[in-house]
């Protein structure tokens, strides 16, 4: 097991490096520059900028200059667009925003999704099944960027209950609408996973045994069926959380939240090389670590898996 973890971690490092390198190359290929603006800048000033950021050097020198601080001290440098702001500060500042929204949304999605999924499984092929799956499916069928403004329309512009946008802090009313908007998609997935998992388990021998032993239906469902039936949800949680922690792009844009996803899109559109590379590296690391964690968890949960 330990060998497996070490091997995976060792593979992670070059993977991230390749990701960063390709990202660097992509940014070079994309037309336009971080200093491109509506009005063209006089040539002399352009030359000064190129000189300052080493853009007039051969590509391998530029590459080396970009990579060395990362390899050496994990230093991603300063943002080019937001001059003087270190990339690490931007990530440290925006991650909690994305994480708060993401975790709350996932929690809500878990509660609703498991409820809908269990109801659907227990009453398979009934109106209950269809209705709860239909509600869940709405989460996948309506894009986030439609749901968000609809909620704003109702709860902010018509009822004046909640603010329509902006970040008001970690415990404020301004969280409600983004969390609701974001949870829809995840709720739908969780409901479907729960339903599939539960159906599988409910047909298995040990549930039949439990029932035949005369256990109460409620105990059978909650103590046995649900626990096993939720395994797929557990495996879904790993990657879902990684994505939720690191970027909830659409929701952050709609509600003008200072989160990581918002910065990522802006950085991409601004060709803000250090910031893009920093965020890409962060997302890649989070993803790979989450995957590793889930693999380890699997090994413990299911003794049949060997590495």
């Amino acid at each position: 097991m330990l060998r497996f973890i070490i091997r995976r971690l060792l593979i992670t490092i070059p993977t991230i490096f390749v990701v960063i390198t390709l990202t660097w190359g992509l940014i070079r290929l994309a037309p336009g520059n971080f200093y491109t603006a509506e009005r063209s800048i006089p040539k002399a000033i352009r030359e000064n900028i190129k000189e300052k950021y080493g853009l007039n050097k051969p590509w391998y020198v530029q590459y080396g200059k970009a990579m060395w601080p990362i390899v050496r001290h994990l230093d991603f440098g300063n943002s080019l667009k937001y001059q003087g702001q270190p990339v690490s500060n931007i990530i440290a500042r925006s991650l909690p925003v994305s994480a708060t929204i993401g975790l709350l949304a996932y929690l809500l999605a878990l509660i609703l999704g498991i409820t809908f999924g269990s109801i659907a499984a227990l009453k398979q092929n009934s109106a209950w099944d269809y209705a709860s799956m239909a509600v869940a499916m709405l989460g996948i069928s309506i894009p986030n960027f439609v749901v968000g403004p609809l909620l704003v329309m109702v709860f902010s512009l018509s009822l004046y209950w909640l603010p329509p946008a902006r970040w008001g802090g970690f415990w404020s009313k301004s969280l409600i609408l983004p969390v609701l908007t974001l949870s829809g998609l995840y709720m739908a997935y969780i409901a479907r996973l729960t339903r599939a998992g539960m159906l599988e388990v409910l047909r298995s021998d040990y549930i039949r045994t439990a029932r035949s032993k005369g256990l109460r239906e409620r105990d059978v469902v909650i103590r046995h069926a649900l626990r096993a039936g939720l395994m797929p949800v557990v495996s879904f949680t790993g990657p879902a959380l990684a994505f939720l922690l690191t970027g909830t792009v659409v929701v952050e844009r709609i509600f003008a939240l200072p989160g990581l996803g918002n910065y990522f899109i802006q950085a991409s559109l601004n060709r803000d090389e250090p910031l893009i590379i920093g965020i890409v590296a962060f997302i890649a690391i989070t993803l790979l670590l989450m995957n590793l964690l889930v693999d380890i968890a699997y090994a413990y949960l299911d003794p049949r898996i060997r590495y």
Binding site: I11, T15, A196, R203, H224, P239, V250
Partner: protein
């Protein structure tokens, strides 16, 4: 009493499930592997599947809606043009008509059959645009899914069958591609391969969308192939000296079709949503063409004032996605032999 974990988890490569980003994730059952005896069942498997699918009412409902919307999108625009003269890009010459008119109204507010869905900000018939949007969105969905199918199945099958070091490297590449910044990838794609014709720009959009969605497909196929390759019929083929290429594409791949079809059905709505997201960011189809996504993205800006601009494309799109998802779920249930009751 000892509780057994559900057995299907052990049968698949855990890693393969785990990398799936939620936008592209499949419902768990799709990645199941068929038992040996079910392959023996041969054609009856498909017959059973069809029977089971037709029994699933929501799936049938989905199928009907999808077929219906496809037909209306294809046949509608010429009919509208013949009947009223409106096309998706006809901006009225009369300046007083260049505005958003509510459904069943004329410019002065009286009742009129001219625009059953109203008009957009430039006074264009919304019905004609929603139908055009349907054509584009369905085309984007289907073609990009085909792209992802072709690349994903080929890649996944080769990786899974060859296994070992090759597999390891090929899957690392998939990991890398997953982590690349998608927006920049799209910017580069659209800038490096430029095209000024509408068709060329559409093709680029297909490539941009397909270039990402094949990754999940590759993972799923690989997982399937991993568990298939040591089964007797493959071993037998290998023993009789059949070439590797032939084994992969004639023996192994056909046996992964079930999950692949299911996943493809579920990919279509996901690709359509991705296209909508790109439209939301301004990378979608080029005007005056429109997709449901771009219409909805535009409508959402005006929801407070011209709600019909969102409601019609939005509801049509949601209904289609809804139906496609139910169809996909139905297919999964139908192709999943464990569900046979």
């Amino acid at each position: 009493m000892k509780e057994e974990p559900p057995d299907f988890i052990s049968r698949q490569e855990p890693r393969d499930l785990i990398h799936v980003p939620p936008e592209f994730a499949v419902a768990e059952g799709a990645v199941r592997v068929l038992d040996e005896d079910e392959y023996v069942a041969g054609s009856s498997l498909w017959k059973d599947a069809r029977r089971r699918l037709l029994k699933n009412k929501l799936a049938v409902f989905g199928l009907i809606v999808v077929v219906l919307i496809t037909f209306i999108s294809l046949l509608g625009p010429p009919i509208i043009k013949a009947a009223t003269g409106f096309t998706y890009d006809s901006i009225p010459r009369d300046v007083t008509l260049i505005k958003s008119i509510p459904p069943f109204r004329s410019a002065d507010g009286s009742f009129s059959w001219a625009h059953p869905m109203g008009t957009d900000n430039s006074g264009r018939d919304l019905l004609a645009r929603v139908l055009l949007g349907g054509r584009i969105s369905l085309m984007v969905g289907i073609i990009s899914t085909l792209v992802s199918l072709i690349i994903g199945v080929g890649y996944g099958a080769v990786a899974g069958y060859l296994g070992g070091r090759v597999d390891n490297w090929m899957m690392r590449l998939v990991d890398v591609l997953y982590s690349l910044p998608y927006i920049i990838l799209v910017i580069v794609l659209l800038a490096v391969f430029r095209s000024s014709t509408a068709v060329g720009q559409l093709v680029l959009l297909f490539i941009a969308l397909g270039s990402v969605s094949w990754l999940t497909m590759a993972r799923i196929v690989r997982g399937q192939v991993l568990s298939l390759k040591n089964q007797e019929f493959v071993v037998a083929a290998r023993a009789t000296g059949v070439s590797t290429t032939r084994i992969i594409f004639r023996h192994v791949v056909p046996n992964t079709l079930g999950p692949v079809i299911v996943y493809a059905t579920l990919t279509i709505p996901q690709v359509m949503l991705s296209e909508a997201f790109l439209s939301f960011l301004g990378f979608g189809v080029q005007p005056p063409l429109a997709s449901w996504g771009s219409l909805a993205a535009e409508g959402i800006q005006n929801i407070a004032i011209f709600p019909w601009q969102l409601i019609f494309p939005g509801v049509t799109m949601a209904l289609t996605l809804f139906s496609l998802n139910f169809l996909g779920d139905g297919l999964r249930d139908a192709l999943d032999p464990q569900m046979r009751t």
